[in-house]
Symmetry: C2
């Protein structure tokens, strides 16, 4: 295996009209399902949106990112305890999974599975794009996809044949995310050094200018990931998770 | 790329004494950091435990699973908004990430990164094992690893050179986790069919017998993932996440 694949991979948002077949999706799901999973419980499902009208309805739930209507299929990955609980029900077993810890277990299973699928799809020559908007508009997504109780949307991939491959968008140095034995907190000087390359990129300068900001971090705090949006969608996601059958515990 | 890797991979719990070098860990972290991440924010850190005394202290936090003391390194993967917030602080930007939605964003980033690391490690010939106990005993883990505010343990990998490769533990059929356009809920008959192969395995019969149960599902509900444990650890994890700087929103 040529490990260069891992640093050369790109998120792909633009696809040709050629479809990704159901047989290909099933092949890639089958391979991805061998990824690790808590107690081999496989607490996830994936909903495949291929129908154009369904994509049109999904699009606003992802803030009309063009990749939703422009892809071959949209794949919504859900934390799913429904299937497991139904197995308990036919097995004379009393499930105890209506709680926050079980939700988190299913979220971790789901994201492991999604990333394994993403790697398999990319290695198969397809392009993928994650949609982080899934946790924002989970209630509307769940209604459209008719998700039952104990099934919660966690993340989404758009999938298709690659039409355009973007340039590398850069990453922090590996040393910035590794801590030996204990977490070494960052001094202001260390932070400036870690983010120096990111801030010096041409596209970063463009983002700052286009948004009329002084620093790159302000583009994140004031434009892309704002406090009021985060707080608004926190309430919505929390309420949805609880009504979906995973009530949060009272405080200690 | 031979895609058979993905179905032949195994979780490995037994390792030789040969160490995995720091250079190798840095190489694999660097490759894995090219995995997708929300807004390219890379909201994760990994703490490397190599010191034998630190492993001994970590072991009970993972219920003394032998893989903790038996591996070359333990890698604790944490949702980390601390580094990003410190960057905001030196950039005259006001961060708005002390909320549940931001926590979930960082969790998803962290698990994507962890799974990419796991795949890279396995493709490099090493063995890995996820420890789901990380979300149970997060407070003790955080104290030992001196995690600051806004850094929350999400999952753990043990890593080493493979000493013993376990047999395939089987997976549900791919069709069981794929839904076309809308979620098709499972009838009792469909559930029995989906789980038939799993239930018929020799190791499943052994689990049921060893635990004095009637059905395989009861091994999960009554022994491995019990309601009272899930509820207990739900309270602990919720409380920890909130005190770590991600207060949960009030109900709608």
């Amino acid at each position: 295996m040529d490990m260069k694949f891992f640093e050369d991979r790109r998120t792909v948002r633009q696809y040709t009209d050629e479809p990704v077949t159901d047989a290909e999706i099933e092949r890639m799901v089958r391979l991805a399902s061998h990824a690790p999973t808590t107690g081999n419980m496989q607490l996830y499902s994936v909903i495949v949106t291929r129908d154009e009208d369904m994509k049109r309805q999904l699009a606003p739930m992802h803030f009309n990112q063009p990749t939703v209507e422009g892809c071959s299929v949209v794949l919504t990955f859900c934390a799913d305890f429904n299937r497991f609980v139904r197995w308990c029900e036919v097995s004379d077993a009393a499930p105890g999974y209506s709680n926050f810890q079980s939700f988190m277990t299913a979220v971790i299973d789901t994201v492991i599975f999604t990333q394994q699928f993403c790697t398999i799809a990319e290695m198969s020559g397809y392009g993928c794009c994650y949609l982080g908007t899934t946790t924002y508009n989970a209630p509307q997504i769940a209604e459209l996809l008719r998700l039952p109780r104990m099934v919660v949307p966690v993340t989404t991939l758009t999938l298709g044949h690659v039409a355009a491959r973007p340039d590398d968008c850069g990453r922090l140095p590996a040393s910035a995310v590794i801590h030996s034995e204990r977490y070494q907190d960052y001094t202001p000087e260390a932070i400036r050094e870690i983010y120096a390359e990111k801030e010096s990129r041409d596209d970063s300068h463009r983002f700052v200018a286009e948004n009329g900001k002084q620093t790159l971090a302000q583009v994140f705090t004031d434009v892309r990931y704002k406090r009021e949006d985060n707080e608004h969608f926190s309430r919505i996601y929390r309420y949805f998770i609880e009504t979906a059958g995973f009530p949060f515990p009272d405080k200690k």
